[in-house]
Amino acid sequence: MRRGSDTRLIHLGALLAAAAIALSFPSMAPSPYEITVGIAILNYAVLSTSWNFVGGFTGYISLGHGAFAGLGAYGTGLLVARAGLPPFAALFTAAALVALIAVPVGYAALRVRGASFVIVSIALVLILLLVFQSWASFTGGSRGLVVPRPFPGMLRAEHHRTFYFLFLALLAVTLSAWWVIDRSRFGMGLKAIREDEDKAQSLGIPTYSYKLVVFVVSAAFTALAGGLYALWFGDLDPVFQFSVLGGAYMVLMALLGGVRHLYGPLLGAVAVGYALEYAKVEYGDTPLHLVVAGLLLGVVVMFMPDGVIPAATALIGRFRRSGETSIREVTAAELRERREQPNRTEVKDGERSGT
């Protein structure tokens, strides 16, 4: 017990230190430019944490979350520009609308497992891109949509600073929500789906409605991030708002950091966001960033499918204390597979989740 409270103290201290650094970052930044980089990274962090509601809890990998971010952004923008709603009322209205839209989408997508789910998630992005390009009279089409500034008259540097804190607050809320679900019965049920959906069902977990609820929650948070981005950035273009690549970045960040961990996506977002910014400054003028992103995703998928945190954990395994979590590091599905098909277990040691 003593050791536990010590760790808790260290934990709390670290949390406070991180919060202090995050909060004081804007005043340390030498120019507004660094704040915009900070905002971009926070935006990535909120997006990938939102994605992780589905990806982390249920194990369903959605490549289409870019669609919800785009809908949140356009929803907010259109409600402000066309309906004249106050900016932040528009933001929450848009997120609520996206949650509503996510219900039928989730209904269609979650009926099917595996392949069809991924296909639907990608198709969702592509169809929305077509719709927002075609329906030009309403959305502005390829010409884009200009979202009026939420704080007219505010100087640009001040605008950035304000939105930095707004994004930070949104991140805190998103992380808290994930944390709460993680500890709830609901969360346990979701994780059971991730480990073995059939077994979870036979244990009496209403798998379908659980999946749908968490899908909708995830979509709503993603939409909030998109909407806040729209208010901050001001210019929306369908090509950038509804991009499969954007959704893939969310997956990459979450996987990189580790989908089973509260801070995994955040960590991945910081790493990828920082790397993108660094690559841009250093090697800006080649399309090699796609190659790097692709290779990184490939390496993570092949060798560290549970993320860098578990992979690193394997290295520092001796610091670990057992019995802290009821989640087995080897999934039930893997165990089953190993039992049933001994001749086909080509799984390498290193690929197993950090055992």
Binding site: I119, Q133, P287
Partner: protein, 295 residues
């Protein structure tokens, strides 16, 4: 109301386009059949083949059709290698999800490298017969489009004969239908799956060459193709080659006819509407057999 001749023209264009869709969707179906893998990089390989055809034509002036002799075996080998070296190493439990990400990353790498090598500029092969066409029952058919269609049709026919008549084809179909049972019959399903993957990628080589004959290519073009192709294989029933071909012709035709009344962008949405409708009404697809029901 569009005139009869315009409708006829659209039907002709729809058939020509549908043929290409059918070939490419057949490839996508093969991967799914043998490995339960949704191969996102299929269309990236398609564009790669088109670039190779364009590049060979630009550098040496050879007819792009001749590049097939190089690209088809090359892509077949690449497909086998990809299956053996990458996909079989993924955990079977999460194969479907992870393979999507893995092939997605392959697509990104190909797109990035194409962009690096040839820049983002749109490219188009210039042939002496690019603008040639002839009258056919009152509609005009462009020679290049007809060649592309013929190429796709020949490749599909070859695939059909291979799968129906050869021993390898039987083994392939057995592997697709029931992998464990095929194993019990003494079929080396791993090897067959590798060849199946190679065949799938070979269709991308043929399709890419056909594509390069008549359209512009650029590195990010593959996103434009993967969506419709995925919709086709779901509508056709995952894993069913004839289903994919029928769905491809139907949707290609629908797209072409819808363009009579709608803009090109709206007409493209037909693929996704069909996809969502299929999943809502009949998730196993319209032509799929029992295989599709499990996914």
């Amino acid at each position: 109301m569009p005139s009869a001749s315009l409708v006829l023209q659209s039907v002709v264009l729809g058939v020509l386009l549908g043929g290409l869709y059918a070939l490419l969707a057949a490839g996508l179906t093969l991967y799914f059949g043998v490995m339960r893998v949704v191969m996102i990089a299929h269309s990236a390989f398609l564009i790669l083949a088109a670039y190779l055809a364009w590049y060979a034509h630009r550098e040496t002036g050879v007819d792009p059709l001749l590049t097939l002799f190089v690209t088809v075996p090359l892509f077949f080998a690449a497909g086998v290698a990809m299956q053996r070296l990458l996909l079989t190493r993924l955990r079977p439990a999460t194969l479907t999800m992870m393979s999507v990400l893995l092939t997605f990353s392959v697509a990104l790498v190909i797109e990035g490298l194409l962009g690096y090598a040839f820049s983002g500029t749109q490219r188009r092969i210039r042939l002496g017969y690019s603008a040639a066409g002839f009258e056919f029952l009152g509609a005009r058919v462009a020679v290049v489009k007809l060649i592309a269609f013929g190429l796709a049709a020949l490749a599909l026919l070859g695939l059909y004969v291979l799968m129906k008549r050869s021993r390898f084809g039987q083994a392939l179909r057995a592997t697709i239908q029931h992998r464990e049972a095929a194993q019990l019959l003494g079929i080396d399903t791993d090897r067959i799956a590798g060849y199946g993957f190679g065949l799938g990628l070979a269709t991308a080589a043929v399709g890419g060459t056909a594509l390069a004959l008549d359209t512009t290519i650029y590195p990010s073009l593959h996103w434009h193709w993967i969506g419709p192709l995925m919709a086709i294989i779901v509508v056709g029933g995952l894993g069913s080659v004839p289903g994919a071909a029928i769905a491809a012709m139907t949707l290609g035709m629908l797209q072409s006819l819808l363009q009579l009344e709608l803009s090109t962008t709206w007409a493209q949405t037909v693929f996704y509407i069909a996809l969502f409708a299929t999943l809502a009404v009949r998730p196993q697809g319209f032509f799929g057999g029992r295989l599709a029901q499990r996914f």
